[in-house]
């Protein structure tokens, strides 16, 4: 009997160590679901996270060394491009979409506004290659990194081998981005019993649960699916969203549901940044829904809110701002100096 108990305890310890070993640097918020990202294939490692952080802030990824990931995904804007409806890239190019905020990426199944990218590890290939973003290629990036003594030694340090390959670059970028976890807002404190909503916020929360939660599901505040939210087509962009990827008629005007966390830092809103304020967004859902042929559920049931309720809803939405995440120094730019100690 005792022997079995010992075996059981050993097995239990091994399993828990295994869990800890798989996610040692991943700060899983207790009220969040299990992440979708498979950490077993890219186990987080502090040196790799730091390498990814260096790459994220380095314009070496662009053809003329002018644009870094952070050019459009700034830490102070919850890694979005605040105040720009459409993103700016290499040679003053202007893209066709609003740069999405980057956080809680381990829970995303698809990336980009149309879900064109199916895995975080291959996401960076898109901006690196796009003629309107970085205008380079992964081959060119590898050549440039290989010419840098700092990076060569950094890759050697992380991968115990100096070879710089596409998968190593991409996985390091993923590592850094996976650490961008936003779970420190007032809402999160209320959920964990450390704070309380005001009367107005509580009322707004109830309105949110009734009207918004089916797509913007708490606690991530998105179910990260692709939906038609009743926006009319902007004829200057002719962006048909998911249809451009799938060529399936019923996917016209479908875009990925964004999270509602950090809204104060990430305006303007929608895939093309057409709304500058939350008030405009709420008025869209209550009064200005456009009937597209897809007939998504929201279009048949416009949200009914009076002006007081709109104010309450916004008060709740502001509790999703997470300044602890936005101003966290460990996500910000840090100059690499190979000689210097970490």
């Amino acid at each position: 009997m005792q022997k079995f108990l010992v075996i059981f305890i050993c097995a239990f310890l091994m399993l828990s160590f295994d869990y800890i070993a798989s996610y040692p640097l991943f700060d899983q918020p207790p009220h969040f679901p299990k992440p979708i990202y498979n950490f077993n294939k890219n186990p987080l490692d502090s040196a790799a996270i730091e390498l990814g952080r260096a790459l994220f802030y380095d314009p070496i990824l662009s053809r003329d060394n002018s644009i870094s990931c952070a050019s459009c995904h700034s830490p102070f804007n919850a890694f979005a491009h605040t105040d720009h409806d459409l993103s700016h890239g290499i040679f003053d190019s202007i893209g066709t979409r609003n740069a999405p905020a980057l956080f809680n990426l381990a829970w995303h199944k698809l990336f980009m506004w149309d879900g064109a990218i199916n895995h975080l590890d291959v996401q960076a290939l898109a901006p690196i290659t796009s003629h309107k973003e970085m205008g380079s290629s992964i081959k060119e990036v590898i050549e440039k990194l290989n010419a840098s003594k700092e990076y060569k030694s950094r890759f050697n340090q992380v991968f115990k081998d100096p070879k710089i390959t596409s998968s190593r670059i991409l996985k390091a970028l993923s590592q850094f981005q996976l650490t961008l976890i936003s779970a420190g807002s007032k809402y999160d404190l209320v959920v964990s019993g450390k704070d309380q909503f005001t009367h107005q916020e509580k009322n707004g929360y109830e309105l949110f649960l009734k009207n918004c939660n089916s797509c913007h599901q708490e606690p991530l505040f998105s179910n990260y699916t692709i939906q038609d939210n009743g926006l009319p087509l902007d004829s200057t962009l002719n962006d048909l969203g998911r249809f451009n990827i799938s060529q399936v008629e019923s996917d016209k005007m479908k875009f990925k549901v964004p999270s509602l966390r950090n809204l104060s830092y990430t305006y303007p809103y929608m895939h093309d940044g057409r709304f500058r304020s939350l008030k405009e967004v709420i008025n869209h859902y209550t009064e200005r829904l456009y009937k597209t042929p897809n007939k998504s559920p929201i279009q048949d049931n416009p949200i009914k809110l009076n002006s007081n309720e709109k104010v309450d809803l916004i008060a709740f939405l502001l509790t999703l701002n997470d300044p602890n995440f936005v101003f966290d120094k460990k996500h910000q730019f840090k100059k690499i100096s190979m000689g210097a100690k970490e």
Partner: protein
């Protein structure tokens, strides 16, 4: 001296043994001609020059009398006509076989697996960047009947999601012995696909499927 002779003879034996392993040799063809890149071929009133021909083959399997006798450890091979080494695939079996099967292109599981290495490394130009997914079959060139700028055509055939999943299965039967040539009859494609209509295919689409459906017909074994 005798010791050296023994070593020499055993080396010879190893070499002879190595030659007994079977292999598959892909031979790109245009009609009866061996297809070379950057060489002009005539088809009807069209003159066609190919600048790039690359494709993936996956799950190569060798059968004898309906039983699987060999499947290489490497699941996917990138065949690139500009790299003659890639055209030959060695096996580690000496057994003969009467049927081979393989797939042209990459399956959906591999397509959603993230950043991969080796033949699946995106540096090979066989991965779409603006939307995730491998290009299964890439043929580029210049055809006088192609109305595009400089008469250039681009066939990048891929896609792993329905209704435009483009991976195709190939089965070849025959009397296999030692090195077997598998001809890739590129001219066959041009019998069915009109280059004056279908010249820019660079995403999963109806046109990609139209070409993918013809790929099985271009692989032929010869004795």
């Amino acid at each position: 001296m005798i010791r050296w002779l023994v070593v020499f003879l055993s080396l010879l034996a190893i070499k002879a043994e190595a030659q007994d392993f079977h292999s598959i040799q892909f031979v790109p063809k245009f009609g009866n001609h061996h297809l070379e890149l950057n060489t002009e071929y005539t088809l009807g009133n069209d003159k066609i020059t190919f600048t790039n021909l690359k494709f993936y083959i996956a799950d190569l399997s060798f059968f004898l009398k309906d039983s699987l006798i060999h499947r290489p450890d490497q699941k996917v091979f990138l065949i690139d006509v500009s790299d003659s080494n890639s055209l030959k695939i060695f096996t580690n079996t000496k057994s003969t076989f009467d049927r081979i099967t393989f797939k042209i292109g990459i399956d959906s599981v591999t397509n959603v697996a993230g950043a991969l290495d080796g033949d699946l490394d995106p540096v090979h130009g066989m991965y779409w960047t603006w939307q995730s997914g491998y290009i299964n079959f890439k043929l580029e060139g210049i055809a006088t009947n192609c109305p595009a700028r400089l008469h250039k055509f681009y066939w990048h055939i891929g896609g792993y999601l329905q209704p435009f999943a483009a991976q195709r299965c190939i089965e070849l039967k025959g009397n296999f012995s030692k090195i077997k040539n598998v001809n890739i009859q590129i001219d066959e494609l041009f019998k069915y696909i009109d280059i004056s209509q279908t010249y820019n295919v660079m995403s999963p689409s109806v046109h990609a499927i139209e070409i993918a459906d013809r790929l099985a017909g271009i692989f032929k074994i010869t004795d």
